[in-house]
Protein backbone atom coordinates (compact mmCIF):
# COMPACT_ATOMS: atom_id res chain seq x y z
CA UNK A 1 0.00 0.00 0.00
CA UNK A 2 2.78 2.36 0.94
CA UNK A 3 4.54 1.33 -2.24
CA UNK A 4 1.42 2.16 -4.21
CA UNK A 5 1.01 5.58 -2.62
CA UNK A 6 4.67 6.31 -3.25
CA UNK A 7 4.31 5.37 -6.90
CA UNK A 8 1.13 7.40 -7.27
CA UNK A 9 2.74 10.49 -5.77
CA UNK A 10 5.82 10.28 -7.92
CA UNK A 11 3.74 9.73 -11.06
CA UNK A 12 1.59 12.71 -10.19
CA UNK A 13 4.54 14.93 -9.36
CA UNK A 14 6.58 14.09 -12.46
CA UNK A 15 3.47 14.21 -14.59
CA UNK A 16 2.63 17.68 -13.36
CA UNK A 17 6.20 18.90 -13.85
CA UNK A 18 6.19 17.61 -17.41
CA UNK A 19 2.73 19.07 -17.93
CA UNK A 20 3.90 22.53 -16.83
CA UNK A 21 6.66 22.43 -19.40
CA UNK A 22 4.20 21.40 -22.08
CA UNK A 23 1.79 24.08 -20.96
CA UNK A 24 4.29 26.95 -20.93
CA UNK A 25 5.50 26.11 -24.42
CA UNK A 26 2.12 25.27 -25.92
CA UNK A 27 -0.13 27.95 -24.49
CA UNK A 28 1.34 30.62 -26.77
CA UNK A 29 0.67 28.37 -29.73
CA UNK A 30 -2.89 27.84 -28.60
CA UNK A 31 -3.57 31.55 -28.31
CA UNK A 32 -2.00 32.43 -31.63
CA UNK A 33 -3.80 29.60 -33.38
CA UNK A 34 -7.08 30.61 -31.82
CA UNK A 35 -6.59 34.28 -32.52
CA UNK A 36 -5.04 34.20 -35.96
CA UNK A 37 -6.16 30.80 -37.18
CA UNK A 38 -2.60 30.01 -38.11
CA UNK A 39 -1.31 26.45 -37.88
CA UNK A 40 2.15 27.47 -36.77
CA UNK A 41 4.29 24.36 -36.77
CA UNK A 42 7.34 26.53 -36.16
CA UNK A 43 6.28 27.34 -32.63
CA UNK A 44 8.71 24.75 -31.30
CA UNK A 45 11.47 26.53 -33.19
CA UNK A 46 10.92 29.59 -31.00
CA UNK A 47 11.16 27.36 -27.94
CA UNK A 48 14.38 25.95 -29.32
CA UNK A 49 15.67 29.41 -30.04
CA UNK A 50 14.90 30.33 -26.44
CA UNK A 51 16.95 27.36 -25.27
CA UNK A 52 19.92 28.33 -27.39
CA UNK A 53 19.75 32.01 -26.50
CA UNK A 54 19.79 30.96 -22.88
CA UNK A 55 22.74 28.63 -23.38
CA UNK A 56 24.65 31.40 -25.15
CA UNK A 57 23.83 33.92 -22.45
CA UNK A 58 24.96 31.62 -19.67
CA UNK A 59 28.03 30.10 -21.28
CA UNK A 60 29.31 33.00 -23.37
CA UNK A 61 28.21 35.99 -21.35
CA UNK A 62 28.11 34.46 -17.90
CA UNK A 63 24.56 35.61 -17.23
CA UNK A 64 23.08 33.85 -14.18
CA UNK A 65 20.37 31.24 -14.70
CA UNK A 66 17.22 33.09 -13.69
CA UNK A 67 18.14 36.30 -15.48
CA UNK A 68 19.10 34.32 -18.57
CA UNK A 69 15.71 32.62 -18.53
CA UNK A 70 13.89 35.96 -18.51
CA UNK A 71 16.21 37.53 -21.06
CA UNK A 72 15.82 34.56 -23.40
CA UNK A 73 12.05 35.00 -23.33
CA UNK A 74 12.32 38.74 -24.06
CA UNK A 75 14.92 38.37 -26.81
CA UNK A 76 12.96 35.66 -28.61
CA UNK A 77 9.75 37.67 -28.29
CA UNK A 78 11.51 40.54 -30.08
CA UNK A 79 13.00 38.25 -32.72
CA UNK A 80 9.56 36.84 -33.47
CA UNK A 81 8.06 40.22 -34.38
CA UNK A 82 9.47 40.49 -37.91
CA UNK A 83 8.38 36.91 -38.58
CA UNK A 84 4.80 37.82 -37.81
CA UNK A 85 4.93 41.07 -39.73
CA UNK A 86 6.59 39.86 -42.89
CA UNK A 87 5.83 36.16 -43.18
CA UNK A 88 2.91 34.93 -41.14
CA UNK A 89 0.69 37.90 -41.86
CA UNK A 90 0.67 37.06 -45.56
CA UNK A 91 -0.94 33.72 -44.89
CA UNK A 92 -3.65 34.44 -42.34
CA UNK A 93 -6.30 33.93 -44.97
CA UNK A 94 -4.61 30.99 -46.69
CA UNK A 95 -5.53 27.37 -46.07
CA UNK A 96 -3.91 25.34 -43.32
CA UNK A 97 -1.81 23.45 -45.87
CA UNK A 98 0.06 26.60 -46.86
CA UNK A 99 0.51 27.54 -43.23
CA UNK A 100 1.81 24.11 -42.32
CA UNK A 101 4.28 24.15 -45.18
CA UNK A 102 5.56 27.65 -44.53
CA UNK A 103 6.11 26.96 -40.86
CA UNK A 104 7.72 23.56 -41.51
CA UNK A 105 10.04 25.34 -43.91
CA UNK A 106 10.95 27.72 -41.11
CA UNK A 107 11.60 24.77 -38.79
CA UNK A 108 14.03 23.28 -41.29
CA UNK A 109 15.82 26.57 -41.66
CA UNK A 110 16.01 27.06 -37.91
CA UNK A 111 17.34 23.53 -37.38
CA UNK A 112 20.00 23.99 -40.04
CA UNK A 113 21.02 27.40 -38.71
CA UNK A 114 21.30 26.18 -35.13
CA UNK A 115 23.28 23.13 -36.25
CA UNK A 116 25.60 25.40 -38.20
CA UNK A 117 26.37 27.60 -35.22
CA UNK A 118 26.10 25.23 -32.29
CA UNK A 119 26.77 21.81 -33.78
CA UNK A 120 24.45 18.83 -33.76
CA UNK A 121 25.00 17.67 -30.18
CA UNK A 122 22.93 18.38 -27.15
CA UNK A 123 23.95 21.48 -25.28
CA UNK A 124 23.54 21.77 -21.57
CA UNK A 125 23.86 24.33 -18.83
CA UNK A 126 24.61 24.10 -15.19
CA UNK A 127 21.71 25.17 -13.02
CA UNK A 128 22.27 27.12 -9.80
CA UNK A 129 22.99 25.19 -6.61
CA UNK A 130 19.52 25.66 -5.12
CA UNK A 131 17.92 23.90 -8.10
CA UNK A 132 20.13 20.84 -7.84
CA UNK A 133 19.34 17.79 -5.84
CA UNK A 134 16.18 17.35 -3.81
CA UNK A 135 13.91 19.49 -1.71
CA UNK A 136 11.61 18.50 1.11
CA UNK A 137 8.15 19.88 0.51
CA UNK A 138 6.75 18.58 3.77
CA UNK A 139 4.71 15.81 2.19
CA UNK A 140 7.64 14.25 0.42
CA UNK A 141 11.09 14.77 -1.02
CA UNK A 142 11.14 15.89 -4.62
CA UNK A 143 13.69 16.87 -7.26
CA UNK A 144 14.35 20.57 -6.83
CA UNK A 145 14.40 21.50 -10.49
CA UNK A 146 11.06 19.92 -11.19
CA UNK A 147 9.59 21.65 -8.18
CA UNK A 148 10.89 24.88 -9.65
CA UNK A 149 9.33 24.03 -13.02
CA UNK A 150 5.97 23.44 -11.40
CA UNK A 151 6.27 26.71 -9.52
CA UNK A 152 7.04 28.61 -12.70
CA UNK A 153 4.12 26.89 -14.39
CA UNK A 154 1.74 27.91 -11.64
CA UNK A 155 3.02 31.49 -11.66
CA UNK A 156 2.47 31.60 -15.43
CA UNK A 157 -1.08 30.31 -15.02
CA UNK A 158 -1.92 33.01 -12.52
CA UNK A 159 -0.22 35.67 -14.60
CA UNK A 160 -1.99 34.55 -17.75
CA UNK A 161 -5.31 34.37 -16.01
CA UNK A 162 -4.83 37.86 -14.66
CA UNK A 163 -3.57 39.16 -17.98
CA UNK A 164 -6.47 37.79 -19.95
CA UNK A 165 -9.30 38.30 -17.54
CA UNK A 166 -8.29 41.52 -15.86
CA UNK A 167 -6.46 43.70 -18.38
CA UNK A 168 -7.69 45.68 -21.35
CA UNK A 169 -5.33 43.95 -23.77
CA UNK A 170 -6.50 40.60 -22.47
CA UNK A 171 -10.10 41.58 -22.99
CA UNK A 172 -9.30 42.68 -26.52
CA UNK A 173 -7.59 39.40 -27.29
CA UNK A 174 -10.51 37.43 -25.91
CA UNK A 175 -12.87 39.51 -28.03
CA UNK A 176 -10.77 38.95 -31.13
CA UNK A 177 -10.50 35.20 -30.54
CA UNK A 178 -14.24 35.12 -30.15
CA UNK A 179 -15.12 37.12 -33.22
CA UNK A 180 -12.42 38.87 -35.15
CA UNK A 181 -14.70 40.81 -37.45
CA UNK A 182 -16.74 42.11 -34.57
CA UNK A 183 -13.61 43.11 -32.67
CA UNK A 184 -12.35 44.97 -35.71
CA UNK A 185 -15.64 46.78 -36.15
CA UNK A 186 -15.62 48.09 -32.60
CA UNK A 187 -12.25 49.66 -33.20
CA UNK A 188 -9.75 47.15 -31.85
CA UNK A 189 -6.47 47.37 -33.74
CA UNK A 190 -6.33 43.71 -34.60
CA UNK A 191 -3.03 43.97 -36.48
CA UNK A 192 -1.31 45.33 -33.42
CA UNK A 193 -2.97 42.76 -31.25
CA UNK A 194 -1.61 40.02 -33.50
CA UNK A 195 1.95 41.25 -33.16
CA UNK A 196 1.66 41.55 -29.40
CA UNK A 197 0.11 38.12 -29.01
CA UNK A 198 2.53 36.45 -31.36
CA UNK A 199 5.53 37.97 -29.63
CA UNK A 200 4.10 37.08 -26.26
CA UNK A 201 3.41 33.48 -27.31
CA UNK A 202 6.87 33.11 -28.78
CA UNK A 203 8.40 34.57 -25.63
CA UNK A 204 6.52 32.04 -23.52
CA UNK A 205 7.72 29.27 -25.81
CA UNK A 206 11.26 30.52 -25.32
CA UNK A 207 10.78 30.49 -21.57
CA UNK A 208 9.59 26.91 -21.82
CA UNK A 209 12.52 26.06 -24.07
CA UNK A 210 14.90 27.52 -21.52
CA UNK A 211 13.30 25.48 -18.76
CA UNK A 212 13.37 22.36 -20.90
CA UNK A 213 17.14 22.33 -21.35
CA UNK A 214 17.63 20.66 -18.01
CA UNK A 215 14.75 18.20 -18.37
CA UNK A 216 14.51 17.28 -22.04
CA UNK A 217 17.90 18.45 -23.24
CA UNK A 218 18.36 20.92 -26.06
CA UNK A 219 19.53 20.02 -29.53
CA UNK A 220 18.79 21.32 -33.03
CA UNK A 221 16.15 18.64 -33.49
CA UNK A 222 14.16 19.90 -30.51
CA UNK A 223 11.73 21.91 -32.65
CA UNK A 224 10.67 18.91 -34.68
CA UNK A 225 10.92 16.22 -32.01
CA UNK A 226 8.52 17.82 -29.59
CA UNK A 227 6.33 19.55 -32.15
CA UNK A 228 3.85 16.71 -32.09
CA UNK A 229 3.39 17.07 -28.34
CA UNK A 230 2.79 20.82 -28.54
CA UNK A 231 0.25 20.33 -31.29
CA UNK A 232 -1.49 17.64 -29.33
CA UNK A 233 -1.81 19.91 -26.29
CA UNK A 234 -3.30 22.64 -28.45
CA UNK A 235 -5.67 20.40 -30.36
CA UNK A 236 -6.84 18.52 -27.29
CA UNK A 237 -7.22 21.66 -25.22
CA UNK A 238 -9.04 23.59 -27.88
CA UNK A 239 -7.72 26.52 -29.91
CA UNK A 240 -7.36 29.79 -28.09
CA UNK A 241 -8.25 28.41 -24.69
CA UNK A 242 -5.77 28.92 -21.87
CA UNK A 243 -7.79 26.72 -19.60
CA UNK A 244 -7.94 24.10 -22.33
CA UNK A 245 -4.19 24.14 -22.85
CA UNK A 246 -3.67 23.81 -19.13
CA UNK A 247 -6.05 20.90 -18.69
CA UNK A 248 -4.77 19.16 -21.83
CA UNK A 249 -1.16 19.55 -20.71
CA UNK A 250 -2.06 18.10 -17.32
CA UNK A 251 -3.98 15.19 -18.78
CA UNK A 252 -1.32 14.36 -21.33
CA UNK A 253 1.63 14.95 -19.00
CA UNK A 254 0.21 12.70 -16.31
CA UNK A 255 -0.98 10.01 -18.70
CA UNK A 256 2.36 9.93 -20.49
CA UNK A 257 4.25 9.68 -17.21
CA UNK A 258 1.90 7.06 -15.80
CA UNK A 259 2.10 5.07 -19.01
CA UNK A 260 5.87 5.04 -18.92
CA UNK A 261 5.94 4.16 -15.26
CA UNK A 262 3.32 1.46 -15.22
CA UNK A 263 3.79 -0.03 -18.63
CA UNK A 264 7.21 0.90 -20.03
CA UNK A 265 6.88 -1.58 -22.90
CA UNK A 266 3.86 0.30 -24.20
CA UNK A 267 6.10 3.20 -25.03
CA UNK A 268 4.39 6.32 -26.20
CA UNK A 269 1.25 4.43 -27.05
CA UNK A 270 -1.00 6.00 -24.41
CA UNK A 271 -0.65 9.62 -25.26
CA UNK A 272 -1.68 9.08 -28.88
CA UNK A 273 -4.55 6.78 -28.06
CA UNK A 274 -5.92 9.32 -25.60
CA UNK A 275 -5.46 12.13 -28.10
CA UNK A 276 -7.35 10.29 -30.80
CA UNK A 277 -10.08 9.35 -28.36
CA UNK A 278 -10.61 12.92 -27.16
CA UNK A 279 -10.54 14.40 -30.65
CA UNK A 280 -13.01 11.84 -31.99
CA UNK A 281 -15.47 12.76 -29.29
CA UNK A 282 -14.70 16.47 -29.10
CA UNK A 283 -13.24 17.54 -32.45
CA UNK A 284 -12.83 21.11 -31.25
CA UNK A 285 -10.88 20.01 -28.21
CA UNK A 286 -11.90 20.01 -24.57
CA UNK A 287 -12.53 23.74 -24.32
CA UNK A 288 -12.65 24.77 -27.95
CA UNK A 289 -15.35 26.78 -29.62
CA UNK A 290 -17.92 24.44 -31.12
Amino acid sequence: MEQFAKAAISILFDGVAYAMLLFIISVGLSITMGLMGFANLAHGAFAMLGGYVMVSLMLKAGVPFLLALVLAAIIVALISVPFERYLYRRLYKAGELDQVLLSIGLVFMATATITFFFGPSTVSISVPEFLKGQVNLGFGIFPAYRTFTIAVGLVMIVALWYGFERTITGAKIRAAVDNRRMAQSIGIDVDRLFVITFAFGSGLAALGGGLAIEILGMSPTFALTYLVFFLIVVAVGGLGSIRGAFVAALVLGIIDTAGKYLWPDGGAFFIYAVTIGILLIKPEGLFGKA
Binding site: V100, F108, L239, L279, P283
Partner: protein, 337 residues
Protein backbone atom coordinates in the same frame (compact mmCIF):
# COMPACT_ATOMS: atom_id res chain seq x y z
CA UNK B 1 -7.18 29.18 -73.04
CA UNK B 2 -10.69 30.56 -72.80
CA UNK B 3 -12.59 32.67 -75.23
CA UNK B 4 -13.71 36.11 -74.34
CA UNK B 5 -16.99 35.96 -72.50
CA UNK B 6 -19.93 37.22 -74.45
CA UNK B 7 -23.51 37.58 -73.42
CA UNK B 8 -25.08 35.96 -76.39
CA UNK B 9 -24.42 34.83 -79.88
CA UNK B 10 -21.29 32.73 -79.78
CA UNK B 11 -21.58 29.55 -77.75
CA UNK B 12 -18.30 27.86 -76.99
CA UNK B 13 -18.22 24.12 -77.49
CA UNK B 14 -18.02 22.63 -74.04
CA UNK B 15 -17.53 19.16 -75.42
CA UNK B 16 -14.39 20.09 -77.27
CA UNK B 17 -13.14 21.81 -74.17
CA UNK B 18 -13.67 18.78 -71.97
CA UNK B 19 -12.24 16.40 -74.48
CA UNK B 20 -9.19 18.56 -74.89
CA UNK B 21 -8.67 18.58 -71.16
CA UNK B 22 -9.02 14.85 -70.81
CA UNK B 23 -7.10 13.98 -73.94
CA UNK B 24 -3.45 13.09 -74.00
CA UNK B 25 -1.01 15.82 -74.82
CA UNK B 26 2.34 15.32 -76.43
CA UNK B 27 4.08 16.82 -73.42
CA UNK B 28 2.77 13.98 -71.32
CA UNK B 29 5.14 11.60 -73.02
CA UNK B 30 8.05 13.60 -71.66
CA UNK B 31 8.37 12.12 -68.17
CA UNK B 32 8.21 8.60 -69.53
CA UNK B 33 10.81 9.35 -72.16
CA UNK B 34 13.00 10.85 -69.47
CA UNK B 35 12.49 7.79 -67.25
CA UNK B 36 13.45 5.41 -70.05
CA UNK B 37 16.35 7.56 -71.20
CA UNK B 38 17.62 7.78 -67.62
CA UNK B 39 18.15 4.06 -67.65
CA UNK B 40 20.57 4.28 -70.55
CA UNK B 41 22.23 7.54 -69.57
CA UNK B 42 22.72 6.85 -65.87
CA UNK B 43 22.80 3.07 -65.55
CA UNK B 44 24.70 3.42 -62.27
CA UNK B 45 21.97 5.50 -60.68
CA UNK B 46 19.22 2.93 -60.91
CA UNK B 47 19.08 2.21 -57.20
CA UNK B 48 18.31 5.87 -56.64
CA UNK B 49 16.09 5.82 -59.70
CA UNK B 50 14.02 2.99 -58.25
CA UNK B 51 13.57 4.84 -54.99
CA UNK B 52 12.48 7.93 -56.92
CA UNK B 53 9.90 5.93 -58.86
CA UNK B 54 8.52 4.46 -55.64
CA UNK B 55 8.35 7.90 -54.09
CA UNK B 56 6.48 9.16 -57.16
CA UNK B 57 3.84 6.46 -56.74
CA UNK B 58 3.50 7.47 -53.10
CA UNK B 59 3.25 11.17 -53.96
CA UNK B 60 0.76 10.37 -56.71
CA UNK B 61 -1.43 8.60 -54.18
CA UNK B 62 -1.32 11.68 -51.99
CA UNK B 63 -2.22 13.92 -54.91
CA UNK B 64 -5.44 11.97 -55.36
CA UNK B 65 -6.67 13.00 -51.93
CA UNK B 66 -4.87 16.29 -51.40
CA UNK B 67 -4.83 17.72 -54.88
CA UNK B 68 -8.24 16.52 -56.00
CA UNK B 69 -10.31 16.04 -52.87
CA UNK B 70 -8.59 18.64 -50.67
CA UNK B 71 -7.87 16.27 -47.78
CA UNK B 72 -4.87 17.59 -45.86
CA UNK B 73 -3.12 14.79 -44.01
CA UNK B 74 0.05 14.48 -41.98
CA UNK B 75 -0.19 10.72 -41.71
CA UNK B 76 -0.15 9.27 -45.20
CA UNK B 77 2.93 7.18 -44.41
CA UNK B 78 0.63 4.95 -42.34
CA UNK B 79 -0.64 3.32 -45.53
CA UNK B 80 2.75 3.23 -47.19
CA UNK B 81 4.09 1.52 -44.08
CA UNK B 82 1.16 -0.85 -43.81
CA UNK B 83 1.77 -1.95 -47.38
CA UNK B 84 5.49 -2.34 -46.77
CA UNK B 85 4.95 -4.46 -43.67
CA UNK B 86 2.23 -6.51 -45.32
CA UNK B 87 4.42 -7.36 -48.28
CA UNK B 88 7.44 -7.92 -46.07
CA UNK B 89 5.65 -10.16 -43.60
CA UNK B 90 4.09 -12.17 -46.37
CA UNK B 91 7.59 -13.15 -47.36
CA UNK B 92 9.32 -13.21 -43.99
CA UNK B 93 6.65 -15.17 -42.13
CA UNK B 94 4.67 -17.05 -44.75
CA UNK B 95 7.41 -17.55 -47.30
CA UNK B 96 5.48 -16.06 -50.19
CA UNK B 97 7.82 -13.96 -52.30
CA UNK B 98 6.11 -13.64 -55.68
CA UNK B 99 6.72 -9.92 -56.25
CA UNK B 100 3.59 -8.79 -58.08
CA UNK B 101 1.05 -10.56 -55.90
CA UNK B 102 2.96 -9.62 -52.75
CA UNK B 103 2.96 -6.00 -53.82
CA UNK B 104 -0.75 -6.11 -54.59
CA UNK B 105 -1.30 -7.65 -51.19
CA UNK B 106 0.47 -4.64 -49.72
CA UNK B 107 -1.89 -2.43 -51.68
CA UNK B 108 -4.87 -4.38 -50.43
CA UNK B 109 -3.82 -4.01 -46.81
CA UNK B 110 -3.17 -0.31 -47.34
CA UNK B 111 -6.61 0.08 -48.88
CA UNK B 112 -8.31 -1.84 -46.08
CA UNK B 113 -6.62 0.32 -43.49
CA UNK B 114 -7.46 3.41 -45.51
CA UNK B 115 -11.08 2.42 -45.64
CA UNK B 116 -11.33 1.78 -41.91
CA UNK B 117 -9.47 4.88 -40.78
CA UNK B 118 -10.98 7.04 -43.50
CA UNK B 119 -14.48 6.03 -42.47
CA UNK B 120 -13.82 7.45 -39.02
CA UNK B 121 -11.39 10.29 -39.70
CA UNK B 122 -12.98 11.90 -42.75
CA UNK B 123 -15.87 13.18 -40.69
CA UNK B 124 -13.42 15.74 -39.35
CA UNK B 125 -11.59 18.54 -41.07
CA UNK B 126 -9.09 21.32 -40.61
CA UNK B 127 -6.70 21.14 -37.71
CA UNK B 128 -8.62 18.30 -36.09
CA UNK B 129 -8.16 16.13 -39.15
CA UNK B 130 -4.52 17.12 -39.33
CA UNK B 131 -3.96 16.01 -35.74
CA UNK B 132 -6.02 12.86 -36.13
CA UNK B 133 -4.12 11.67 -39.19
CA UNK B 134 -0.85 12.48 -37.51
CA UNK B 135 -1.74 10.69 -34.29
CA UNK B 136 -3.16 7.69 -36.14
CA UNK B 137 0.05 7.21 -38.08
CA UNK B 138 2.18 7.49 -34.96
CA UNK B 139 -0.12 5.14 -33.11
CA UNK B 140 0.23 2.63 -35.90
CA UNK B 141 3.99 3.00 -35.74
CA UNK B 142 3.94 2.39 -32.00
CA UNK B 143 1.77 -0.64 -32.66
CA UNK B 144 4.29 -1.96 -35.16
CA UNK B 145 7.01 -1.36 -32.60
CA UNK B 146 5.09 -3.29 -29.97
CA UNK B 147 4.25 -6.18 -32.30
CA UNK B 148 7.91 -7.09 -32.36
CA UNK B 149 7.31 -10.73 -33.05
CA UNK B 150 5.68 -9.90 -36.37
CA UNK B 151 7.40 -6.73 -37.43
CA UNK B 152 10.82 -7.08 -35.87
CA UNK B 153 10.14 -3.92 -33.89
CA UNK B 154 12.91 -1.41 -33.98
CA UNK B 155 15.38 -3.95 -35.38
CA UNK B 156 13.42 -3.98 -38.58
CA UNK B 157 11.85 -6.84 -40.45
CA UNK B 158 14.59 -9.10 -41.80
CA UNK B 159 14.33 -12.27 -43.76
CA UNK B 160 12.40 -10.89 -46.71
CA UNK B 161 13.23 -12.91 -49.76
CA UNK B 162 11.56 -11.98 -53.02
CA UNK B 163 11.41 -14.39 -55.92
CA UNK B 164 12.53 -13.37 -59.39
CA UNK B 165 10.04 -11.33 -61.32
CA UNK B 166 7.99 -13.58 -63.65
CA UNK B 167 10.22 -16.33 -62.30
CA UNK B 168 12.93 -15.01 -64.56
CA UNK B 169 14.28 -11.55 -63.76
CA UNK B 170 16.37 -11.70 -60.63
CA UNK B 171 16.79 -8.78 -58.28
CA UNK B 172 20.17 -7.28 -59.02
CA UNK B 173 22.47 -5.10 -57.01
CA UNK B 174 22.38 -2.40 -59.66
CA UNK B 175 18.65 -2.08 -59.35
CA UNK B 176 18.11 -2.58 -63.08
CA UNK B 177 15.34 -5.14 -62.78
CA UNK B 178 13.56 -3.17 -60.13
CA UNK B 179 13.82 0.05 -62.07
CA UNK B 180 11.77 -1.41 -64.90
CA UNK B 181 9.45 -3.13 -62.49
CA UNK B 182 8.83 0.10 -60.56
CA UNK B 183 8.43 2.08 -63.78
CA UNK B 184 5.79 -0.37 -64.99
CA UNK B 185 3.95 -0.19 -61.68
CA UNK B 186 4.14 3.60 -61.72
CA UNK B 187 2.73 3.66 -65.24
CA UNK B 188 -0.21 1.46 -64.21
CA UNK B 189 -0.87 3.56 -61.11
CA UNK B 190 -0.67 6.70 -63.18
CA UNK B 191 -3.16 5.38 -65.74
CA UNK B 192 -5.57 4.51 -62.95
CA UNK B 193 -5.12 7.89 -61.29
CA UNK B 194 -5.55 9.73 -64.56
CA UNK B 195 -8.65 7.79 -65.36
CA UNK B 196 -10.12 8.51 -61.94
CA UNK B 197 -9.48 12.23 -61.91
CA UNK B 198 -11.02 12.63 -65.34
CA UNK B 199 -14.06 10.54 -64.47
CA UNK B 200 -17.33 11.98 -63.27
CA UNK B 201 -16.37 10.83 -59.80
CA UNK B 202 -13.12 12.75 -60.12
CA UNK B 203 -15.02 15.86 -61.13
CA UNK B 204 -17.23 15.64 -58.09
CA UNK B 205 -14.13 15.32 -55.90
CA UNK B 206 -12.92 18.59 -57.36
CA UNK B 207 -16.31 19.95 -56.45
CA UNK B 208 -15.89 18.80 -52.85
CA UNK B 209 -12.50 20.44 -52.71
CA UNK B 210 -13.88 23.60 -54.31
CA UNK B 211 -16.94 24.02 -52.13
CA UNK B 212 -18.08 21.33 -49.79
CA UNK B 213 -21.21 23.26 -48.70
CA UNK B 214 -22.44 23.38 -52.23
CA UNK B 215 -21.75 19.70 -52.74
CA UNK B 216 -23.86 18.90 -49.70
CA UNK B 217 -26.58 21.14 -51.06
CA UNK B 218 -26.69 19.34 -54.39
CA UNK B 219 -27.06 16.04 -52.63
CA UNK B 220 -23.56 14.61 -52.94
CA UNK B 221 -22.78 11.85 -50.45
CA UNK B 222 -19.61 13.74 -49.51
CA UNK B 223 -18.38 11.41 -46.82
CA UNK B 224 -18.87 8.33 -48.97
CA UNK B 225 -16.96 9.85 -51.85
CA UNK B 226 -14.13 10.98 -49.64
CA UNK B 227 -13.84 7.52 -48.11
CA UNK B 228 -13.81 6.02 -51.61
CA UNK B 229 -10.93 8.14 -52.88
CA UNK B 230 -9.12 7.82 -49.55
CA UNK B 231 -9.30 4.05 -49.83
CA UNK B 232 -8.00 4.13 -53.39
CA UNK B 233 -5.23 6.49 -52.38
CA UNK B 234 -4.28 4.35 -49.38
CA UNK B 235 -4.21 1.32 -51.65
CA UNK B 236 -1.85 3.07 -54.03
CA UNK B 237 0.32 4.13 -51.10
CA UNK B 238 0.29 0.52 -49.97
CA UNK B 239 1.48 -0.59 -53.40
CA UNK B 240 4.32 1.92 -53.18
CA UNK B 241 5.12 0.53 -49.73
CA UNK B 242 5.05 -3.04 -51.02
CA UNK B 243 7.42 -2.11 -53.79
CA UNK B 244 9.64 -0.41 -51.25
CA UNK B 245 9.76 -3.55 -49.10
CA UNK B 246 10.59 -5.69 -52.13
CA UNK B 247 13.32 -3.45 -53.46
CA UNK B 248 14.96 -3.03 -50.04
CA UNK B 249 14.27 -6.50 -48.65
CA UNK B 250 14.13 -4.73 -45.30
CA UNK B 251 11.41 -2.82 -43.51
CA UNK B 252 11.91 -0.61 -40.48
CA UNK B 253 9.53 1.51 -38.44
CA UNK B 254 10.78 4.43 -40.48
CA UNK B 255 8.29 3.54 -43.23
CA UNK B 256 5.48 4.94 -41.09
CA UNK B 257 7.30 7.88 -39.61
CA UNK B 258 6.06 11.42 -39.40
CA UNK B 259 9.13 12.36 -41.43
CA UNK B 260 7.96 10.21 -44.32
CA UNK B 261 4.44 11.66 -44.17
CA UNK B 262 5.88 15.15 -44.13
CA UNK B 263 8.39 14.52 -46.89
CA UNK B 264 5.85 13.18 -49.35
CA UNK B 265 3.67 16.21 -48.68
CA UNK B 266 6.57 18.52 -49.33
CA UNK B 267 7.54 16.72 -52.53
CA UNK B 268 4.01 16.95 -53.86
CA UNK B 269 3.56 20.60 -52.99
CA UNK B 270 6.90 21.49 -54.52
CA UNK B 271 5.81 19.91 -57.76
CA UNK B 272 2.28 21.22 -57.63
CA UNK B 273 -0.90 19.61 -56.34
CA UNK B 274 -3.95 18.58 -58.28
CA UNK B 275 -2.18 17.98 -61.57
CA UNK B 276 -0.75 14.44 -61.26
CA UNK B 277 2.54 15.45 -62.84
CA UNK B 278 3.36 17.55 -59.81
CA UNK B 279 4.13 14.27 -58.06
CA UNK B 280 6.69 13.48 -60.75
CA UNK B 281 8.46 16.79 -60.83
CA UNK B 282 8.42 17.45 -57.11
CA UNK B 283 9.73 14.03 -56.19
CA UNK B 284 12.52 14.05 -58.75
CA UNK B 285 13.63 17.55 -57.83
CA UNK B 286 13.49 16.84 -54.11
CA UNK B 287 15.33 13.53 -54.18
CA UNK B 288 17.95 14.54 -56.73
CA UNK B 289 18.62 17.77 -54.87
CA UNK B 290 18.84 15.81 -51.66
CA UNK B 291 21.15 13.28 -53.21
CA UNK B 292 23.46 15.98 -54.52
CA UNK B 293 23.19 18.76 -51.97
CA UNK B 294 23.27 16.60 -48.88
CA UNK B 295 26.68 15.42 -50.01
CA UNK B 296 27.92 18.99 -49.94
CA UNK B 297 26.59 19.66 -46.50
CA UNK B 298 23.50 18.27 -44.79
CA UNK B 299 22.78 21.60 -43.12
CA UNK B 300 22.97 23.32 -46.46
CA UNK B 301 20.41 20.89 -47.79
CA UNK B 302 18.12 21.27 -44.81
CA UNK B 303 18.27 25.04 -44.97
CA UNK B 304 17.76 24.93 -48.72
CA UNK B 305 14.67 22.77 -48.59
CA UNK B 306 13.25 24.98 -45.86
CA UNK B 307 13.85 28.10 -47.91
CA UNK B 308 12.40 26.44 -50.99
CA UNK B 309 9.23 25.62 -49.07
CA UNK B 310 8.85 29.19 -47.87
CA UNK B 311 9.40 30.52 -51.38
CA UNK B 312 6.94 28.08 -52.91
CA UNK B 313 4.26 28.91 -50.36
CA UNK B 314 4.72 32.66 -50.73
CA UNK B 315 5.36 33.04 -54.41
CA UNK B 316 4.52 29.84 -56.29
CA UNK B 317 1.07 28.82 -55.17
CA UNK B 318 0.75 26.05 -57.71
CA UNK B 319 4.18 24.60 -57.03
CA UNK B 320 6.75 24.38 -59.79
CA UNK B 321 4.26 23.25 -62.39
CA UNK B 322 1.98 26.09 -61.41
CA UNK B 323 4.85 28.52 -61.85
CA UNK B 324 5.56 26.95 -65.21
CA UNK B 325 1.94 27.49 -66.24
CA UNK B 326 2.12 31.11 -65.16
CA UNK B 327 5.30 31.53 -67.11
CA UNK B 328 3.78 30.06 -70.24
CA UNK B 329 0.69 32.22 -69.82
CA UNK B 330 2.85 35.26 -69.30
CA UNK B 331 4.93 34.45 -72.35
CA UNK B 332 1.76 34.27 -74.41
CA UNK B 333 0.83 37.69 -73.15
CA UNK B 334 -2.30 36.48 -71.50
CA UNK B 335 -1.06 36.28 -67.95
CA UNK B 336 -1.87 38.65 -65.19
CA UNK B 337 0.77 41.32 -64.80
Amino acid sequence: MTDTPSDSGFTPDARLYFRAREGWRWAEALPWIVAIAAFFVFPDYMALGTQILIAIIFALSLDLILGYAGIVTLGHAAYFGAGAYATGMLSAHLGWGEPISAMLFGGLVGAALGFLSGWVLLRYHGLTLLMLTLATAILLMEGANAAEYWTGGFDGLVGISIWPLFNHFEYDLWGHTYYWYALAVLFCCFLVARRIVHSSFGRSLVGIKGNVNRMHAIGTPVHGKLVKIYTISAGMAGIAGGLFAESNAYVTLDVMSFARSGTVLIMLVLGGTGRLYGAFLGTVVYLVLEDELAKLSPEFWEFGIGLLLVVVVLFMRGGMLGALDDLVAWARGKGKP
